[in-house]
Each structure stands twice: as C-alpha cells, then as structure tokens.
C-alpha cells in the first residue's frame, strides 16, 4: 500500500510540474501577477511529493520488501543497513529518482529564496525548471518506474553489485547529482533571460552563486569517484578517461568556464550573451552525460539498438532541451544588450583567455568521447580512444592555461598592466624556479619534464598567495595593518585565491605521483620482504575471514622503514556470496601526503600470493586539491554581496503592485 502511495506521489508530482511549466510562464508573458504567484507554492509541493516518493522507496529497501522489483534486483536482507539505504541510488531507477528529487529541490529553493528576484524572472525560471522536471518525471514513469511490483514476491534479493557496497560510492552519486542538477538552475535562468529578452542586475547576481554551488559539489563528486576508483578497483589508477568519467568531467570544464565568465558579467556587465550560451552548454553536457551513462550506448552502439527504449527517450529529451534552448538563443540573443568594453590585457581579457582554453579542452574531450560512437554508427569502423589520446589532446591545452592562472586576478579591470603584474609575481616565479631546480637535483636528468611540472604547480600555488599579498599590500603598509586588511578582504577574493591554490595542489599531486611512483610486482611466500621506495613490506601470511555478506582472504603485511615498525596493512580478496562476485580490497597506508598501496593478485597453490605494492609520493594532494577548490567556492559564496542581493528600483515595484488593482 505504502509503495503504491510512493508511486501515486510521483504521478501527482508529474501532473503538478505540468501546471508549473505553463501557468507562471503565461502569467509572466501577460503580466498577470496571480498566475506568476502559482510558481512558488506548486514548486514546493512538487518537491514534497517527490520527497515522499523517495522516502517510500528507501523504506522498501530498509524493510527488504522484495515484492518491489527494484528492491529485489538490487538488495539483500543480509546487507548492512547503510548499504541498504545507499543501495536506493545504486541502480538506474533509484538514481533517477534521486536525480529528480534534487532537480525539484533546486526548483523549490529558487521559489523560496527568490524573493529579491523580479516576479516575472522568478516565474519564468521556475517554469523552465518545471519543463525539465516534467521531462524526467515522465521518463521515470514511462520507462524506469522504481515502484513496479511482483505478484509472487521472491524470498531473497539479488544483492547490490559488490563494488558499489562502499561508503565512497555511496556518497559519490548524490554529490555528483547536486553538481549536474545544480547547473539546471543556471540553465533555467539563462532560458528565462532569453524568453524575457533581458538580463538585469538581479539576473547577473543570481547566476554566479548557483554556478558556484553546483560546481563545488561536482568537484567533490568527481574527486570522490576518483578516490573510490583508486582504492576499490585495486590497480592504483585514479583517472581512466573512461567515457563515464568524461561525462562528469565535461560539465565540470564547461562549468569552470561559466564560473569565470559569470564574474565578468556580474562585475562589468560584459560577456552576457556568451555567459547565457555557456550556461546552456554546461547543462546540455550534464544531460549528455546522463544519456551516455544511462542508455548503454557506451558499451556498444549495437547494444543500445537492441534495447533502445530508455536511450531513445533520453535522446529525445536531450534533443528537445538542447535544440530548443539553442534555437531560442539564436532567435533571442541579439536582443540582449552588450555591456562594458575592455582592453585585451585586463582582468576581463584574462577571464576570456580562461574561457577560450577551457572551452577548447571541453571540445577535445567531447569529440574524444563521442567520436568512436559516431564513427561506428556511420562507417562501422571500430576505433578506441583512450588515455594516451587524451594526454596528447587535453594536456597541451592545460599547460598555457595553468601558466596564465596567476596573472588573471592580479590584472586590473578594463585596462591592465602586464609588466606591473609580472613584477608582483617575481617571488612566485622565483619559488617555482627554485623548486624546479631542486627536483632536478633530487632526481637527476632521468625524468626531464617532471621537474617542470612541479615548477608549474608551485607557480600556480605561489601565484595564488601572491594575489592575496598584493591585495592587502602587505609589504607597503607593514604586517600589522596588513593582517587587518587580510581579515577585511571580500569572500570572493579569498575564494579565487583558495581555488587557484587548490588547482596547483592537485597538479602537484598528479605530477609527483605519476612521475616518481615506485612499484613492485612479486610472488611472495609468508616471510618474504619487498622494498618499495625505502619501505620494507613483509608478508606475514594470510587468513580467511567472514563478513556480513562476503567471505575474504586477508593478507597480513608489516611495513618497516630501516627496521623500525611503521604500520600493518591488510589487503584482501573478497567474494560476495549472493552474486559469487570477487573483488579486490587494496590496503592503503598514508605517510604524510604520500601513500603505500598494496593489493593482492592471484593466489598460488603453495600458499604464495601475487602482490602489487606501490609507493605513491604526494598522491593525496590530488584529492586534497579538489577539496581546497570546493572550499574556495564556499568562500566565494559566503561573500557579502551575494547575500544582500541586487537593489530594486522602488518606483518600479510600486507600479507593478498597482497593476492588478486596475
């Protein structure tokens, strides 16, 4: 009964999204305040209905109600409670429900906190958000209903794919979805601006915080997914340029560009049209990601053709939203007024450069991801596009961008002085040079370019610090007043510097962990010792162990450095009983920012076992850098200007209030 209630709530939510798709928009176009006022309460109601639906499904998982097909296929009564709950979004239908929940949640947020927006803009934005919600709710109800039932329920469930039974992957999708779906708000704002034919001050102010919010969650989500792959897949890689990863990386790249162009728009009223277009692109790439992951088109174009119902539906949605918004853009964009002028060497110019490289990089990744599919569909020719391709196409675009990063925030608006900016970066450049030479000295000429990579990372990090020092005029006014000014710096300045520092940290982690990693692959018998980068790993033997829904063979290792005890490590090979599926659980020991990584391979008959051991210098910096970037976004969102909102002309308000009285 409860399950049917969840289903019913979902249908009702769909019906209401149809209302919010039409009525407020009609009101906005005809200046009818009562119709526009429908938007907020209906959006909030839709959110509560989908929340009920989600709660019901979660309840079914917790209670292991195997009469629900979705629960039977993806759960097991012996599964720990945490994974019963996270299992809700560990499958197609449930994750779609989570996606829609976040989508309507954002709609409700705009409704509730959009009090300082002009009425017609808020109503139109919520209507556009309603179109998206309606599309996805219909998709769920038509092709992916999580509430389907069995007439004769089975006794036990199929269990969740074991590699998904992990806390990292449990929080990865919600983070990622907040990111993806967060960009829907920017998209709705952009489309609303096109429909209304204007971008006012309030519009410009609203775009950036929403982008920041979505972007920071997407950053964390991608980092989480990458760390999960690193420790769960058991071969120590953390980014594979897999199409599924690219699907989340493309909106991130476009979103990063959007973040930067929105700054220009907010501060200088320039790049409006481009920002609108970028907002459309960013969400379109999110939708494309959803299509790529859901339709099965990635495994094979032909697999997609044999069961195309879901894929075709999403493809339809994709064409409708992307095609529709781009046509609208072509038609209405010329109406948007162009803003302030600027010289090529200026803060704006720097941000345009950022957009140029990020957009080109997005294009390279997009083509690399889709090309094999398109080629196969058109000519039947099969090619693979993998890691080595992306090194060659993506890498060269990132180098100049990273070199330019420290200059951007130091240049003045409108007309900057490159020479003066360079002088402020002498210290950063010196430090980068010093670190490059130091790395050369440490590692010799063996790896010529790795030290340059280290230098680049240090340059970006030191550049971010220079920006803060320059802003507070630390050396001109003395440390005491300098610290006072440090405290008074606006959140956005801290945000920029922090996020740029974070990208430097990530680059440093990438360079050091890949260039200076050491690895050992050995067959080890109990008592054998292997040396990785000065750490002695002794294999003490292995024992069987039993978990709640798996059995495992645990290897025991002792790590010593120069004979002194450092740590014990326990990598294992697991077999999940319900699906008889083996997984590898790597053991990781963190020393400072570096890690020792041990994973077990094949087990021999004589008690020996294949062991892969790595020392990965500074590898944790890759993810720490991502967290720092997200922190930067949080600082920027805390900026006072974003809370205050745009001033509203009082006269205009009075006028609009008097209209219904006529």
């Amino acid at each position: 009964m409860l399950v049917e209630l969840g289903h019913y709530a979902l249908v009702l939510a769909f019906a209401l999204t149809l209302v919010v798709s039409v009525v407020p928009l009609w009101g906005a176009l005809n200046g009818d305040g009562r119709l526009m006022a429908v938007a907020t309460p209906v959006s909030v109601t839709v959110f509560f209905l989908v929340l009920v639906s989600f709660a019901v499904l979660t309840g079914a998982y917790v209670a292991s109600d195997f009469s629900v097909v979705n629960v039977y296929e993806n759960s097991h009564s012996a599964k720990p409670l945490l994974f019963k709950i996270t299992g809700v979004w560990g499958n197609h239908e449930g994750s779609m429900l989570l996606w829609v929940l976040i989508l309507v949640f954002f709609g409700a947020l705009v409704g509730v906190f959009g009090g300082n927006l002009p009425d017609d803009l808020r109503a139109t934005t919520l209507a556009v958000q309603g179109w998206i919600s309606a599309g996805f709710l219909l998709f769920m109800l038509a092709t992916s209903n999580p509430f389907n039932r069995y007439e004769n329920p089975p006794i036990e469930g199929n269990d969740l794919n074991p590699i998904l039974q992990d806390i990292g992957l449990a929080i990865h999708p919600p983070l990622l979805y907040v990111g993806y779906v967060g960009f829907s708000i920017t998209f709705s704002f952009a489309v609303a601006a096109l429909i209304l034919g204007r971008t006012d001050a309030a519009w410009a102010r609203w775009v950036r915080p929403w982008t920041l919010l979505a972007w920071s969650f997407l950053t964390l989500g991608i980092a989480m997914g990458s760390y999960w792959a690193y420790y769960e897949l058991g071969w120590g890689g953390w980014w594979f340029w897999d199409p599924v990863e690219n699907a989340s990386f493309m909106p991130w790249l476009a979103g990063t560009a959007l973040l930067h162009s929105a700054i220009v728009m907010e501060k200088r009223e320039a790049l409006k049209v481009w920002t609108v277009l970028l907002a459309i692109f960013t969400f379109s790439l999110s939708l494309l990601g959803a299509f790529l992951v859901r339709s099965g088109v990635l495994t094979s174009v032909h697999a997609f053709a044999t069961d195309p119902s879901r894929g075709v539906f999403i493809l339809g949605l994709l064409c409708l939203f992307i095609g529709g918004s781009l046509s609208l853009f072509a038609w209405r964009a010329p109406m948007l007024k162009q803003g302030g002028l600027f010289a090529p060497i200026s803060r704006e110019g720097g941000l345009v450069l950022n957009n140029l490289f990020l957009t080109a990089a997005t294009a390279a990744v997009l083509v690399g991801t889709l090309y094999p599919l398109v080629l196969d569909a058109i000519t039947g020719e099969m090619i693979s596009v993998g890691e080595p391709f992306f090194y060659l196409t993506f890498g060269p675009l990132m180098v100049p961008l990273l070199m330019a990063v420290p200059f951007g925030p130091i240049l003045a608006w409108k007309r900057g002085d490159l020479l003066a900016a360079s002088q402020r970066l002498y210290a950063a450049f010196g430090l980068a040079l010093l670190m490059t030479l130091f790395t050369f000295w440490l590692w010799g000429m063996e790896r010529v370019l790795a030290p340059l990579g280290v230098g680049l990372a240090v340059w970006v990090m030191a550049g971010a610090i220079s920006e803060i020092v320059t802003r507070v005029k630390f050396f001109e006014i003395g440390p005491k007043r300098g610290f006072a000014r440090l405290y008074g710096l606006p959140g956005s300045a801290w945000g920029t510097a922090t996020a740029h520092f974070g990208i430097g940290v990530t680059v440093l982690g990438i360079v050091t962990s890949s260039a200076f990693q050491e690895e050992q692959v050995r067959t080890m018998r109990p008592g054998d010792t292997v040396n990785v980068s000065g750490y002695e790993l002794t294999f003490d033997g292995s024992v069987p162990r039993r978990g709640p829904n798996f059995v495992e063979e645990v290897g025991h290792f002792t790590v010593r450095e120069g004979g002194a005890f450092v740590a014990e490590m326990e990598p294992s090979k697991r077999v999940y009983t319900a699906r008889q599926m083996p997984t590898t659980e790597a053991a990781i020991h963190t020393i400072g920012f570096s890690q020792v990584y041990v994973s077990l391979g094949e087990r021999r008959n004589d008690g020996a076992v294949d062991v892969r051991a790595y020392y990965k210098p500074l590898i944790t910096l890759i993810w720490i850098g991502c967290v720092i970037m997200a922190l930067g976004a949080a600082f920027s969102m805390a900026d006072r200007r974003l809370r205050v909102g745009a001033p509203k002309p009082a006269a205009k308000r009075k006028q609009s209030a008097s209209v219904p009285a006529e």
């Binding site: 071969w235 120590g236 890689g237 953390w238 980014w239 594979f240 340029w241 990635l298 002028l341 090529p344 345009v352 140029l356 490289f357 080109a360 990089a361 294009a363 390279a364 997009l366 083509v367 690399g368 090309y371 020719e381 099969m382 090619i383 693979s384 993998g386 890691e387 080595p388 391709f389 992306f390 090194y391 060659l392 196409t393 993506f394 890498g395 060269p396 675009l397 990132m398 990273l402 010529v448 370019l449 790795a450 340059l452 990579g453 680049l456 680059v507 990438i510 360079v511 962990s513 890949s514 260039a515 990693q517 690895e519 692959v521 050995r522 067959t523 391979g601 294949d610 892969r612 790595y614």
Partner: protein
C-alpha cells in the same frame, strides 16, 4: 613537435600511475625489454573490457596479449612492428591512441580547431565592437555649450560683424 607535445602532456595532464594487472611470472628478465613492453601495453586496449589497457586489465585476454607483446619483443620486433602485428590481427580497435589518418582527422584536430575558432571569434568580436564604437563616436553631436560659453560666442561673433 609531436614529441614535445607527448612529453609535455605526459608530465602535466591527468596521468594515472602505470598500474599493473601484470603477474610476476610474465615479467621479462631484460629490464630494457620489460620497460618497452610496459610502455606498449599501456597503449593497447583489452578488447573485452570497457576502456582498459592490457596493462591495467585482469582479464585473461589481456594476459594473453601481454604475453604476446613480450614474445614479439623477445623475438626482436621493434615497437612499431609489434603494433602493426597486433593491428593486423585485431584491427585498429586494439589501439588506445588511434592512428592519425583521414578517418580520425577530426578526432585529432578537434581541440586545436576549437582553439583557433575561439581565437577567431574573439578577434572578430573585438574588431566589430571597436568599429561600432568608433562609428558611434563619430556620429555623436558635439557637447553642448554652457550658457557662459554661448554668451562669449555671441560676443565674439557680434564683434567680428562690427569690424
């Protein structure tokens, strides 16, 4: 130039560590050959996996291919010969880095083309804006004179008339 790009990107771009699914008995005794085998393995696709190189994959097919690559190297093949051998046998699908040819032209050129197109778009926009603002400047009426200036102008003109 291509070599430079290779090096640059190897250092700087998102590079996952050369993780091995290789088991110890496959490793060649000659370290130089083994290094070459590993570099080759990273560029060859395990065809039954989703986007994994044979260096990364645990699949039996990947193991067979790793052994095959090492056999060819021991037999004295150059890297290019090994690649050709595998492409002959399994098709271009086995290469993670597609060959540069007509059918992959757009694939390889997409990034640079996007960059060039972007630069051109920026230049054109800047030019157009400069010309429109210049034109707007030319058409603008001269600033109006203040009352005082009008007086002086009148006085000057009338004095001229008199003389």
């Amino acid at each position: 130039m291509k070599r430079l790009l290779v090096c640059l990107s190897l250092v700087l771009c998102v590079l996952s560590g050369p993780a091995l699914a290789i088991s110890p008995d496959e490793i060649l005794e000659d370290p130089a050959l083994e290094t070459r085998a590993r570099a080759l393995s990273a560029e060859l696709r395990c065809m039954v996996c989703q986007n994994q190189s044979i260096d990364d994959s645990d699949a039996p097919l990947a193991k067979d291919l790793r052994v095959l690559v090492r056999e060819r190297l021991v037999a004295g093949d150059t890297d290019a010969q090994v690649i050709d051998f595998l492409v002959d046998r399994y098709g271009e699908f086995v290469l993670l880095k597609p060959r540069f040819a007509w059918h992959t032209f757009f694939l390889w050129a997409a990034g640079p083309l996007a960059l060039i197109a972007g630069i051109m778009a920026i230049v054109i926009t800047l030019r157009r804006r400069q010309s429109t603002t210049a034109a707007a400047g030319a058409n603008q009426p001269a600033p109006k004179l203040s009352a005082e200036e009008e007086e002086r102008l009148k006085a000057l003109l009338s004095s001229k008339d008199q003389s």
